[in-house]
């Protein structure tokens, strides 16, 4: 690396930061970042741990894929030319392990989704890449 003597390790370049997450999805595994100093889980990974402020690059751990719908909304306006067609739902899922994700609840109809509903991760291919969605789960 060019330049001065470093006091901290170089951060993970932003464009590479999510690679372990996407690799996990390809294998049917939901991974979140874990602080190597204090063990706190976080997602998206970020440079610095929100718990202990460690700037050490995190490692990645697989989580259960269980969580709850923090909230959801149903798109009726087609903003995006590519992507899901309206009406479709978008949900904020709070994983049992803590971190939150933006995703979709796959069920019969959008009307089946409820706030605080337990859900379980399912893995799909979309436009040539793996994505994680959630299906209703038993409480």
């Amino acid at each position: 690396m060019p330049g001065q003597k470093a006091r901290v390790a170089p951060p993970t370049p932003g464009r590479e930061a999510l690679a372990p997450f996407h690799e996990g999805l390809e294998r049917g595994e939901l991974r979140v970042a874990r602080c190597t100093a204090c063990g706190r889980l976080r997602f998206p990974p970020r440079v610095v741990c929100g718990g202990c402020a460690s700037p050490e690059p995190p490692d990645w751990v697989a989580v259960s894929g269980r969580g709850r719908v923090w909230s959801y909304a149903i798109f009726h306006k087609q903003y995006l030319a590519e992507g899901p067609q309206v009406p479709y739902n978008v949900a904020v899922v709070a994983l049992d392990e803590g971190p939150r994700l933006i995703s979709t609840v796959v069920s019969g109809t959008s009307g089946d989704v409820e706030v605080d509903m337990p859900v379980q991760a399912v893995f799909e291919q979309s436009n040539g890449r793996a994505v994680v969605k959630f299906r209703p789960a038993d409480a």
């Binding site: 923090w70 909304a73 306006k77």
Partner: protein, 374 residues
């Protein structure tokens, strides 16, 4: 404590669809209006803050301003309150004496939707676009979905925000949307991102806004009644800002409101009118609760029975706000605060308005307290 600075001139363009003009034209036009309002010329301004125009350089060169201090802020509306604060701080630091704040928005003519792939909300579009998540409106729809679940707030209660602001806009000849909306109209309107209806969304329109802020010691000698900037505060909620905040920004808004009032030496009860950043109607509920006008989860009830309308206990967004007057991203609301203090608002005037508060709940919460007396 006496204020260090005051708004001595304000300017707004017409609002609507004006395809002949770009953002620089609109911002420059508004600044000419503000200078005329203040009885000043471009050479009388020595500071410049530009937002959503192409640059401070374009504005300065077009208008013939040779500032001793200039800065550009990004286009986000949360910067409008921050800009007022920055102007006062620059004056206080002795960097300049009179700051022109300029904002121009050609979003309507430019075809902005705030939700296309290139306009994605948040810091990680890689994690949102594959699921169809886009647009700030959807972010607020997610917030309101949870908020309504927690507190039992209904669509009918939320509708009061849009209906009240539309009634205010009907009294404002510069408002884009002036036809009254009934509860039936509201409930029958289309969903954009459910649980938000069309009328819960701000407009998208073209226009420009400018303010001139000067050191307070010279403000009283100028043509306009000064609107003193008595207090302000700001608080970021930027960690985890890709997700809706668990507390709907309550604690940050409470902190900002308390600090702004303390700096102003005022109490909440002194506030005669409130200008809330109403990008989406639920934000008004979050702001009222955060500022402590009512308890958590109570705003749906609290806003009923005319309480936030003209003649009510706390008139809110007397111009019609972003929902009905014009989507000028907080800038227009700050101008409305000044016009209320001057008593220029005609049919929508709040009688005897002496203290008006602006608040923006967003990942960068801000508030400004304006007063007529110093």
């Amino acid at each position: 404590m006496s204020a260090a600075a005051a708004v001595i001139g304000v300017g707004t363009t017409p609002f609507g669809r004006m395809p002949a003009f770009n953002a620089d034209d609109l911002g420059g036009w508004a600044l000419l209006e503000a200078l005329a309002d203040a009885g000043l010329g471009p050479a009388d301004v020595d500071g410049l803050i530009a937002s959503r125009v192409s640059s401070y350089e374009t504005i300065a060169s077009n208008l013939g301003i040779q500032p001793s201090w200039a800065v550009s802020l990004p286009a986000e509306g949360r910067m409008s309150g921050a800009a007022v604060q920055l102007a006062v701080a620059a004056i206080g630091a002795g960097l300049c004496r009179r700051v022109a704040l300029v904002y121009g928005n050609d979003g309507k003519s430019a075809g902005a939707t705030y939700g296309s792939a290139g306009e994605a909300y948040g810091t990680s579009p890689d994690l949102t676009l594959p699921y169809g998540m886009t647009s700030p409106g959807a972010f607020y729809a997610l917030m309101f979905g949870r908020y309504a679940h927690l507190y039992g707030v209904t669509q009918e209660q939320l509708a009061t925000v849009a209906l009240t602001f539309r009634r205010h806009a009907s009294l404002n000849e510069n408002a884009v949307m002036r036809d009254l909306v009934s509860l039936e109209d509201y409930l029958a309107s289309r969903w954009v991102v459910e649980p938000l209806h069309l009328f819960d969304y701000c407009l998208i329109n073209d226009g420009g806004v400018a303010l001139i802020i000067s050191a307070a010691d010279e403000a009283a000698d100028l043509v306009q009644t000064p609107a003193y900037v008595h207090g302000f505060a700001q608080q970021g909620q930027l960690v985890e800002s890709d997700f809706p905040p668990e507390d709907f920004w309550h604690d940050a808004i409470a902190d900002v409101g308390a600090r702004a009032l303390a700096m102003a030496g005022r109490e909440r009860a002194d506030v005669d009118a409130l200008m809330v950043y109403d990008n989406f109607s639920p934000n008004v509920l979050f702001a009222l609760e955060g500022l402590g006008f009512c308890g958590r989860g109570e705003a749906g009830d609290w806003i009923q029975d005319g309480r936030i309308g003209l003649g009510g206990e706390l008139p809110v967004n007397t111009s019609g706000g972003h929902l009905s007057e014009s989507y000028m991203q907080g800038w227009g609301l700050n101008v409305e605060a000044v016009r209320q203090l001057r008593g220029e608002c005609g049919d929508r005037q709040v009688a005897g308005a002496a203290v008006v508060q602006y608040v923006c709940s967003s990942p960068l919460v801000s508030s400004v307290i304006y007063g007529r007396e110093n």
